[in-house]
Symmetry: C3
Subunit: 267 residues, 3 copies
Amino acid sequence: MTPITLITDFGTKDHYVGSIKGTILRTAPAARIVDITHEIGAHDVVHGAYVLFEAVKTFPPGTVHVAVVDPGVGSKRRILAGRYAGQVVIAPDNGLITLVHRHLPLEEMVSVENTHYFPGPVSQTFQGRDILAPVAAHVASGVPLVQLGPPTASVDILRLPEPVRLEPVGLRGQVLFVDHFGTLITNINVDDLASLFRSRVPMEVYVEDQVVGSVLTTFSDVDINETVAMVGSLRMLEVAVNRGRACDRFAAAAGTEVTLRPADDRT
Amino acid sequence: MTPITLITDFGTKDHYVGSIKGTILRTAPAARIVDITHEIGAHDVVHGAYVLFEAVKTFPPGTVHVAVVDPGVGSKRRILAGRYAGQVVIAPDNGLITLVHRHLPLEEMVSVENTHYFPGPVSQTFQGRDILAPVAAHVASGVPLVQLGPPTASVDILRLPEPVRLEPVGLRGQVLFVDHFGTLITNINVDDLASLFRSRVPMEVYVEDQVVGSVLTTFSDVDINETVAMVGSLRMLEVAVNRGRACDRFAAAAGTEVTLRPADDRT
Amino acid sequence: MTPITLITDFGTKDHYVGSIKGTILRTAPAARIVDITHEIGAHDVVHGAYVLFEAVKTFPPGTVHVAVVDPGVGSKRRILAGRYAGQVVIAPDNGLITLVHRHLPLEEMVSVENTHYFPGPVSQTFQGRDILAPVAAHVASGVPLVQLGPPTASVDILRLPEPVRLEPVGLRGQVLFVDHFGTLITNINVDDLASLFRSRVPMEVYVEDQVVGSVLTTFSDVDINETVAMVGSLRMLEVAVNRGRACDRFAAAAGTEVTLRPADDRT
């Protein structure tokens, strides 16, 4: 059977993850469940949106992704099931699908409303178990999306910060999130960099007013414990410390300003 | 093959989880292993008992659950294999099975003693790998429980705190555990609440002497950062902060007193 | 299909683990992925080497192990694929394979260089996704190692600390790592102990200048909260506190000195 992936902010110490897996397997005993993460920051829809997007970029067609970062559980927000790149994403309509929706062609989408596919009592606090898990199991078993509820085209889209051009030349972006290694992942992508570098002006990267240096290609370009700015595996500008933690070195977190400016421009 | 779930306090940074999985797969190469949690608090048998109970409530018949929270490893405590609701629970006889045993009908139980099913040397500190893993693999492969050892009916049962009635009307319970979101899960269940509410006296929930408010139905009944008392997905009274951490707000932990009292009773 | 295990230092909060799993499943849709750990200390090749060795000792023949603790990613270090005990280990050539290589007979080994098996663009920072994952999927699908690149016999071996004999009788070793329970795992193994005990001199274990006591066999030999030295499940000397954390009790960490000396030798 096609894989069912899980992306949640439930942590791993409670019964939550087990309840979702048990419900999936009770509905579809042959389901193949794949943990992506249960450590999205509590209620951090932006982080969840990036992890979900990366998952859809790497998993094979047919995969069903269940994403549950759901601060509005129990409110009137809908649950969406959308097909992108031959994969199905099932998630609350709260912005989690933003990056998938912006970058991949939507093939079909419905609002999950047909209680035939989630027949049990629905808790006000754990719809991951009571709605998303059984629905995902049915979809992985072959139930067409159109049976889950009415088609819809509207998706709640997050307003994500975009980098801005500096005059006469430069870019001001920010840290989107800090990864497990303490590396700063910024919202400045390779296309932003490419257009900037066409100016042929030597640039340096700054985290607030602290200089990192020019954009290099790999950790091994710098010594251990040295800082490096480079294009990472997400194809976005990252600021790292070789075998160290850039978030500590620069006292940086999500939202911290990162700029590219001409090397001699120490304003 | 039927799923084998794992509920342990081993954490995930060491070789322990891998050793259990490898031993299962060496014994039963087609086994389907499902992680429920490895983050039960070290030696926290009460927390493990709740997670195990929720697992048995959601997984399908045939599932084999391996629960290893085992502060007495190496002592004379037995290892039990019991069938409840068509599922098999394999665990040390230290109270881990308490809630499953109290709430679900026992179909059969044995004391695991037949070394034919765990032929290797048995370490004094890691019987999860040396006994429970191979035994679970054999059970999932179809070995009847009666072959594992002599039938038994005695189970070590935890003495869990029960809520007490207050005069003239009210309930005094306590926090059982704090979940990943910082929400306080109490030992007051829906039946306790239903019998209390028959008095038709308006009640409020208190965490020690701090008022939470009346019992509502969902997070979206309160504003962000507001406290709420409600019946959670375990069908027990929970105290939460909408998108915040109740354990910090109320300086509460397992054992903290939670009461329901008439709204005007500020004693 | 044969299992593919994952041992990494990627943590579980980011997209990294999902990207590796998705890439494996895109290459080999029937792959069975088994998480061993993603919580190896960042860049801690020594810890990774021990976890990998324990995995190879427990998993069945045919298993493919992917180990990614790779501080030198992006540099010229090779990626190796070696067969030991009928299992395949795929890892960077940075010492991760040290213990497997020292203790198990090598059956064949190649340097992974054939880009036919990792056709996509290769990031400078995430070769786990771009090289190791697709290669592991191909090997699990039956591709012979010889097709991955040229045979090699050279492996980067870590210089691990060895215990030294004390005069007239005794051993000085050190803590290799601290496990999830706070137990100190030392580099003194059962063979070291056996040869020492042939002297028939009563010995005591010390953590630096703090006495632990003699070597016992199980936690239940001591009361709760008491310290105990014993041979653990790795068959190495461990120092533990019954239901407590030895690392806190002794202020010990990797590298802390642990000695065995005659009981009356309070030098």
